[in-house]
Subunit: 477 residues, 2 copies
């Protein structure tokens, strides 16, 4: 809830809240039969006394705007303002349907808290903190640039100049050979995964993902009706032979991998395994989707050749993004693959959102072509390395023997095992109570008792405080 | 195909084309078994002699890169460079699957031509021509503005400041009452429709659309597994009583309407019918999706109150967009509805593309808040009125008795009946032959022999030429 009471206003709080709810009812934002929050919950959300809300609800009832029944809460009246009801839509039936499945309750809970939490610590978000966005550099790039009066032809695959820049970018940084016509610009990596699951796979198809995996937390796999099977991850990533086993058992049709600084574990698929995975997949005739959002965030100057860089027969769909290296405010990602696949996905994408705005595409193109970009990468790695180190030191100093983790060589996350037995649901709730958010391992398909902690979303000076808070949470559970 | 031969280069054309295809094969963009275009088609695409392509294909075959079989065309070899094949993905099987259905072949054909056509006339696109984009005004707005270094919190419903602006914008221009928390910023109107069909309806559900309807041309309804039923449109839009009939027969669960300057017919739903539609839908308890992209483009200064402006119980999901009033380069649309619906769709949207970039949202916000915006609207209406008049005059002068149409009072399209009996497919092909594109009525579910002509995508001085071209097409069919 974005609206807040105005404590400096002359109008009493209960009157402000009454008018706020009355307005929502009269505008149809709370249609008849809408269940209002409980007094306790609304009081908490608006940070007012519960008696104030009780007063508001009494007034709303007296005006005939809401009805209150014991046990079923406070609902918007269908007879409001004395007018006979014309009948209304039972929205709940619509909202609970739909082939597209909502996010998992635990993730919705965390995201909901992230929206309203004030003065807390968010170690759950996978986004870079906003101070890492190269805004000065953007401003200087934009000041030298005037947008052309003719914004040019909008191609279903995305702006041609950006696709050309990306083709050369992936050659420079990843040794991937491609041309602009095999690049599809997407709204981040997320949209690439959505298009793949919706357009290349059928309900009932079996696919393999890492176990644990970021993909497990995305209901879009379930929304597409896919059956997902796990490839266990060790320190060197998945074991290629497991692909053969899964294929024999379930006839998997696609493999989703995040080989470098894997989310959530941070594992790096070894080079030998990369090559073997590619060989096995080719032999079985099943494609690999390689999700590679953070491999440029390296803390030891190691660069790992993507599987795609070894691919000569178009067996790998390669997914990249600027979200973890420039910032998610651009929402620029890309998918590289055989031209026929790109055409199919570009067509679907025209139906889904008609393509991306040219503005973030132009900005991304300017940023990538600027000589400042490599300097930004150096800055970003250094900054994130310091935050990683700060978090590791804090975890050791404050939590010591209570947790176990390996030091990630790149990326944004620390995958942390809590030694004492905990229930993920309770852990998250206890965290919320203490205003600290993190991702519990179970959302990635891991057993209870793991957490993924982001060190990229908080400034360095807050990290130790956040770990202290985490320690308090662990003490309380 | 964006790549072009370089006629000024020293390298012979066949050598350039050979290297181009060789590169695509070696990069995996044309995986083994990929069917290459026929000699004739590729020659046409690249605008070279067919003998040149024959030469290229001979060379590719001699190098072992492609295999040619009588009757099955030219395919990329699976034994390329003499290496034993490791097996490859049969991409065709993937591309032809997927729950998301591709665009209709006729629409794909038209869009494909639009991408490559040079010096032709595009009356098919629903986009404003780029010279209508207020680029000077954008430049002046941007020059006074520096993007904040902290781009701020990204809300799943979209940028708060833009949502607040839109809430006041729809009040000013449409007399719709809403607040920022019931607004979802979407990637144009298209994404709003996609989210609604995916999240609020179940496969097998029946929905009503206008007949003919723009919605008919969108396979996203079929992709969601919906059964669609038509409400015939006359000069005053649909007949509200037809809703009752459809409900009795098919238990329709949602009604999609485009009441003002309806696409494709230009019809305006009368005010009395708007109120009746709302009453009937409420009584039946089924929601209305009101798609309202062009109602500000009025040629007679009439403003039609949207159905949503009469809605007091949240029965209407209102879809708006800046694509037809500022330009599609922004990709900014919005959906206004009950808060619970907005929350459900915002959650799904986080999974689909993680939200829009803040840049077009900030730009849209600056443009809408600028005092120049109302002036832009005046300019746009005047400009489009002149184009409409030019097209009407040209149709009368050149095609005279051969066609029938009503003069649209707003919007971007003329719906035109061709009096002689024609087959839509042949009509489109003949148009392509003469480099003129238009939308045949059958893609909107109309009988053969109608075309939707856009007067907003061509400059005024080209419109008469385009109509002359259309006359030639009609003479040839």
């Amino acid at each position: 809830m974005e609206w807040k009471v105005d404590r400096d206003a002359d109008k009493p709080l209960y009157q402000q809240i009454f008018e706020y709810i009355e307005e929502k009812i009269s505008y149809g934002e709370y249609p008849p039969e809408t269940l209002l929050p409980s007094e306790r919950k609304l009081a908490q959300q608006l940070n007012v006394n519960r008696m104030t809300i009780a007063h508001v609800y009494d007034e709303l009832q007296a005006s005939g705007l809401v009805e209150r029944k014991k046990g079923s809460g406070t609902r918007v009246s269908s007879h409001k303002w004395g007018i006979l009801p014309k009948g209304v839509t039972n929205w709940r039936k619509y909202i609970e349907g739909g082939s597209f499945i909502p996010s998992y309750p635990l993730i919705r809970r965390i995201r909901g808290e992230a929206k309203v939490m004030e003065n807390g610590f968010n170690l759950a978000s996978g986004k870079l903190s906003s101070d890492l966005f190269p805004s000065e550099y953007l401003q200087s790039v934009l000041s030298e640039h005037t947008f052309p009066s003719d914004l040019g032809y909008e191609h279903p695959q995305g702006l041609l100049s950006l696709r050309e820049t990306i083709a050369s970018y992936v050659k420079t940084y990843y040794n991937i050979n491609t041309t602009s016509s095999s690049v599809l610009i997407t709204s981040g990596a997320q949209q690439a995964l959505h298009l793949i699951t919706q357009c290349l796979l059928n309900p009932g198809d079996a696919v393999a993902i890492e176990a644990p995996s970021y993909c497990y937390s995305l209901p879009l796999f379930q929304s597409a009706g896919l059956r997902i099977f796990g490839l266990p991850v060790d320190a060197n990533g998945i074991n290629p032979d497991d692909i053969v086993t899964l294929y024999a058992k379930h006839k998997i049709r696609m493999i989703f991998l995040n080989p470098t600084y894997h989310s959530p574990t941070g594992a790096i698929l070894s080079d030998a395994r990369r090559k073997k995975v590619l060989d096995i997949a080719a032999e079985l005739g099943i494609p690999i989707v390689e999700d590679d959002p953070v491999s440029l965030i390296s803390f030891d100057n190691e660069q790992y050749a993507p599987i795609k860089s070894y691919d000569r027969s178009g067996n790998v769909l390669y997914v990249g993004s600027l979200s973890k290296v420039i910032g998610s405010s651009l929402r620029i990602g890309w998918l590289i693959g055989p031209q026929s696949v790109i055409n199919r996905l570009a067509d679907a994408r025209e139906q889904i959102d008609f393509g991306l705005s040219v503005f973030p595409q132009m900005i991304a193109n300017l940023l990538l072509q600027s000589p400042e970009y490599p300097k930004h990468l150096v800055f970003l790695r250094q900054e994130l390395l310091e935050r990683r180190n700060e978090m590791i030191d804090a975890l050791r100093d404050i939590l010591g023997e209570k947790v176990e983790f390996t030091i990630p060589k790149g990326g944004l996350f620390i995958w942390c095992k809590i030694k004492k037995k905990v229930d993920d649901q309770k852990l998250v709730e206890e965290g919320i109570k203490h205003k600290i958010l993190f991702m519990p391992g179970s959302v990635y398909g891991a057993p209870n008792g793991y957490v993924r902690l982001t060190f990229a979303h908080l400034k360095k000076e807050s990290i130790r405080e956040a770990v202290k808070r985490l320690a308090i949470v662990l003490d309380h559970i």
